[in-house]
Each structure stands twice: as structure tokens, then as C-alpha cells.
């Protein structure tokens, strides 16, 4: 498509020079290192205690594994938070600033179609997000060497889920910021994706677990669930919970695991693909309608 490559290339150049993304990246990178080193230091201090852990009840290897689980658990949360922050930052700036500053006037007067412009912007935004979160994940993977092996694959699965969810958020902000102020777009997206969708997903999970007996209410949540984007979940979350439960004695593991979201199935993944197409189309529609 004529021009989309140039739009993508220079959008990436712009993103690489935006301080807010650099700040999020640095805070994320420092945070992950601090988390890893902090837990390792905790382990060293604890293992130097001749009485051992938990009055000798837990051996050093188990404690090391526990720390690794703790690190991975925090890491998942940190990655998800930073991926979302970066998605919001990119979504709020990639198209909005061109429209707001008047740069779009010069760009749209060139022989570039609105479709090529939207494709270039969305492409650059996705590549930018994957690059930044990917770098944080790579750093996290290196920090994991401090704890030995075992959960590296879990990180990969979770990273893909985190990025997939962040892409949806970014596309929603991108499309809304073409219509309205970018801060308002971020607030609306947060309410829609993190609050409304979160509530519907949780209630659907509760309904699925049989807590809600009324079939009609369950059906309502079933319908609502398929009207909102689904946050993808990797098997890592459940594996991690299972490992933690096993370590703590494995008591009532099935009941405890019921509250942990199950890994996303093919239906959820297909729904995610559909959602991405819908929101990308919405970005194009908004760009196409926009008069500058």
C-alpha cells in the first residue's frame, strides 16, 4: 500500500524519541532488575541463617523455588502493568498528535490514502509495543537466570497473552483518540476495557463455576461475555497458582484453582483476532471520516 511504509517508519522514529515511552521503559527495566536482585538478596540473607527457613521446615531448594515463583508472579504483574502503560502511551500519541498539531494537514494533502495512513500507524504502534515489551521480557528472562530454570516457558506464554491484551487496549485508544481528546480516550478505554470488561469477565467466570444458579442470569452473562473483548490468559497463571498451592501443602487445590482464570481456549483466541480486526477497522473508519 503506497505510503503506509513511510508512515510506519516515521511513526516509529517519533515513538523512539518520545520521553514518556523512554520513562516507562526505564522504570520497567529498573523495576524488573530490582525485583530479581531484591528477591535474590532475600534468599542469600535467609539461607545464611543457620536455623534455615520456617524453623527448618522448608529446605533451601524449596525456598529457592518459592522465590522463583514469587519473582515470576510479580514479573507477570509488572509486565502486564507496563505493557498496558505503554499501550496507553502509544495509543494516545501515535495518531492524535498528528491530528492535534495540524501535521495531518500536510500529510493528508500528499498522495497517500487514509487506509495507507491508518495501516502505517497501526503497524508502527503494534511493532513499537512489541519491541518495548519484548525488551522488558528479554531482560526479565535474563534476570530469571538468577533463580535457575523451570518457568521460562511460562514467561513466553504469559508475554504473548500480555501483548495480545495490550494490542487491543492500544487499538481502542487509537480509534477513540481520532474522535476525541486523547486523555478522554484513555479514560473511556480504561473504563471499558479494565472496568466493564473486567466485571463482565469475572461475573462470567463466577457464573461458569456454578456460583450463580439462575439460568437466565447465567445466559445474560454469557451474552455479555461475547460482546466485550476477552483478556487472554496463558496457562502460566494457573501453573503458577498450582505450583504455589503444591508448595504450601496442596490443600483444597481444586477449590483454590477454581478462582484462577483458565487458559484462553481457541474460542477466546478467535474472538481476540476478531476484536483486533474490529478495532483496527474502527481506527481506519475514524481516520477516514476525520476532516482536518
Amino acid at each position: 500500500m503506497n505510503g503506509s511504509g513511510a508512515v510506519a517508519r516515521y511513526t516509529l522514529v517519533e515513538l523512539s524519541r518520545r520521553r514518556i515511552l523512554l520513562v516507562f521503559f526505564i522504570v520497567g527495566a529498573v523495576g524488573i532488575i530490582a525485583l530479581g536482585i531484591g528477591l535474590k538478596v532475600l534468599y542469600q540473607v535467609a539461607s545464611s541463617n543457620p536455623r534455615g527457613f520456617g524453623n527448618g521446615a522448608v529446605d533451601p531448594a524449596t525456598f529457592d523455588h518459592f522465590l522463583e515463583l514469587l519473582f515470576v508472579s510479580y514479573l507477570f504483574q509488572a509486565l502486564a502493568v507496563f505493557a498496558l502503560l505503554i499501550a496507553y502511551a502509544i495509543g494516545m500519541t501515535a495518531i492524535y498528535h498528528d491530528l492535534d498539531s495540524g501535521a495531518a494537514v500536510s500529510i493528508f494533502s500528499k498522495p497517500v490514502s487514509r487506509l495507507a495512513f491508518a495501516t502505517g500507524k497501526v503497524g508502527a504502534a503494534v511493532v513499537g509495543l512489541i519491541a518495548i515489551v519484548g525488551l522488558l521480557a528479554l531482560e526479565a528472562r535474563l534476570v530469571m537466570f538468577l533463580f535457575g530454570g523451570g518457568l521460562e516457558n511460562a514467561l513466553t506464554g504469559q508475554l504473548i497473552a500480555v501483548m495480545a491484551n495490550a494490542i487491543v487496549v492500544m487499538l481502542i485508544v487509537l480509534s477513540l483518540s481520532t474522535w476525541i481528546n486523547n486523555i478522554l480516550a484513555a479514560v473511556v478505554t480504561f473504563i471499558y476495557f479494565n472496568v466493564i470488561t473486567g466485571i463482565i469477565t469475572t461475573l462470567h467466570l463466577v457464573a461458569d463455576a456454578g456460583v450463580i444458579g439462575n439460568t437466565a442470569v447465567r445466559n445474560v452473562f454469557d451474552v455479555l461475555y461475547w460482546l466485550v473483548p476477552h483478556q487472554l490468559v496463558s496457562s502460566a497463571v494457573r501453573d503458577l497458582a498450582q505450583a504455589e498451592i503444591q508448595m504450601s501443602g496442596g490443600v483444597q487445590s481444586n477449590q483454590a484453582l477454581a478462582s484462577v482464570p483458565a487458559p484462553s481456549g481457541p474460542g477466546d483466541i478467535a474472538w481476540w483476532v476478531f476484536t483486533v480486526f474490529v478495532f483496527a477497522a474502527l481506527v481506519y473508519y475514524a481516520v477516514r471520516r476525520r476532516q482536518v
Binding site: 503506497n2 505510503g3 511504509g5 513511510a6 508512515v7 517508519r9 516515521y10 522514529v13 517519533e14 524519541r17 518520545r18 498528535h97 498528528d98 498539531s101 495540524g102 501535521a103 494537514v105 500536510s106 500529510i107 493528508f108 494533502s109 500528499k110 498522495p111 497517500v112 490514502s113 495507507a116 476532516q291 482536518v292
Partner: protein, 255 residues
């Protein structure tokens, strides 16, 4: 000779309750012709040129740009547009902006290498390495004109091109317009600087409240012994409500 741009009975308003920003504007522009679009603030001049550049959709009427409608990217291949108050992606440098736009224009690598330094030198930005966010209004205006001529257009639309320029910049723009005109490029000039329009334009249209009040060659619009400014002021004042020129707290003040 086929008209470069044909505008017929163009109408536009931005909200249903608003008055028409552009109301029945009709004109055409031939190759090598310099057409001046004049009018007071809010007359609808910028709306007209934005519709020609495919940036704003008309409510009714038609525009033909190089034989097709301006929404078609192909129609804009030979269009150079320097907007009023131009801006660019603020984290890029001038050379990057021109490279970006050259890519959108479909210029190959060799052509980009040749044109970009020359265009930057023309705009006086060849030694400027700061990002656009650090540019003054005048520097942005220079870059706005530079990007408009980068594709060697057959129609150059200049919306208040000299508003923020220093006298040397104004002289350069005048020379540019005259040189392009000689080479057959059609020029559409929006400007408040009537002396400038009088110097470079062959035909003019005076707009007020979206309507064309008078249109014709410079000789038809400006009678002998008069000048464009007098004609403009008379026409515009006759078509708008009378108003006191100074607020009473200024005019009534005793020294």
C-alpha cells in the same frame, strides 16, 4: 487547455446550525495561472483550499482536481499544499519530514537525495538540525513551503504563505511564485497581503461570508486609478454590518 482545478457551486458548513462557511463558490484555474483568493477573516478561504486539497468534504457542489475528485490520492500527486499555520510531526527533523513526504510522493532514493538538500537550502533550513518542536512559527512556515514544492507540483496552493515570514522570506516566496508561474504551474494564493496578491496574481476572487463578491482579472477587479486594497475594503464593508472601529473606552478617552 484542461483546467487544473474546477470548483463548482461549492457549499460547506461545519455544523447544521452554523451559517455557510462556503456558499456557492465557483471558479477554475488554468495551468500557469495565478489566482488570488481574498477575503476578511472567516470569509471561507481556508475552507475552499482545504476542500481542494481533499482535507475537508464539501456538503454540495463539486471539485475536479486534475480530472478527478480530490479524495483520490492520485489527484493529489501533482498538488503542493502549504497550509496556513503549518505543523509537522514534532519529534522529526526538517530533513526527515521532507524524506517522509518524499516517500509519500513516491520519489525514488536518487531523486530524494537530489531534491531534499536543495529544497532545504531554498527554505534556509539546510543547517538546521533541531527537531520541529523547537522551531519558530517562521521556520515552520518555511518548511511548509518547502514540502509543498518538493514534489514539483502542477498546482501549488499557498494558504497565507508569508504570514510569519521575514522580508527576505517574503521576497523568496514571491520569486518562487513567479518562477513557477513561468514554468506553467498554476498557483492558488490565499493572502491578506493585498500588495503581494496584486504583484503576483493574474486573477482574483474576493470572498466574504462564504460568497464570491467579485471575481475577474486584476484589470477587471481593480479600476484604473484605484488599488486592490481600496476595492477590497469597499466591497467587504458594503457586505457586512457597520461597526465602530474603536471601542468607546478608547475613542472616548480624554488625553
Amino acid at each position: 487547455m484542461a483546467a487544473v482545478v474546477t470548483v463548482q457551486n461549492l457549499r460547506k458548513r461545519y455544523r447544521r446550525r452554523d451559517p455557510w462557511a462556503v456558499d456557492g463558490v465557483t471558479f477554475d484555474l488554468q495551468p500557469g495561472q495565478a489566482f488570488g483568493l481574498l477575503g476578511p477573516n472567516g470569509a471561507g478561504k481556508t475552507s475552499v483550499v482545504k476542500m481542494i486539497a481533499g482535507l475537508v468534504r464539501p456538503d454540495s457542489g463539486s471539485i475536479t482536481l486534475f480530472g478527478t475528485e480530490p479524495g483520490n490520492p492520485v489527484a493529489r500527486k501533482d498538488l503542493g499544499f502549504s497550509p496556513e499555520d503549518p505543523d509537522f510531526p514534532k519529534f522529526l527533523r526538517a530533513s526527515e519530514v521532507l524524506d517522509y513526504f518524499a516517500s509519500l510522493l513516491g520519489l525514488d532514493g536518487a531523486e530524494r537525495k537530489r531534491r531534499i538538500p536543495e529544497t532545504l537550502a531554498f527554505a534556509g533550513l539546510d543547517t538546521e538540525h533541531r527537531q520541529i518542536r523547537q522551531y519558530s512559527k517562521g521556520m515552520k512556515q518555511r518548511l511548509g513551503i518547502a514540502q509543498a514544492i518538493l514534489g514539483r507540483p502542477k498546482l501549488l496552493v499557498l494558504d497565507e504563505p508569508t504570514a510569519d515570514l521575514d522580508p527576505i522570506g517574503r521576497r523568496d516566496v514571491r520569486a518562487l511564485i513567479e518562477r513557477l508561474k513561468e514554468s506553467g504551474v498554476a498557483i492558488l494564493l490565499n493572502s491578506h497581503l493585498l500588495s503581494e496578491v496584486e504583484r503576483v496574481c493574474d486573477t482574483v476572487a474576493i470572498l466574504a461570508r462564504g460568497r464570491v463578491l467579485k471575481e475577474g482579472t486584476m484589470a477587471e477587479v481593480v479600476p484604473e486609478g484605484s488599488n486592490l486594497e481600496d476595492v477590497f475594503v469597499q466591497l467587504v464593508e458594503a457586505n457586512q454590518p457597520q461597526r465602530d472601529h474603536l471601542p468607546s473606552f478608547i475613542s472616548d478617552a480624554t488625553p
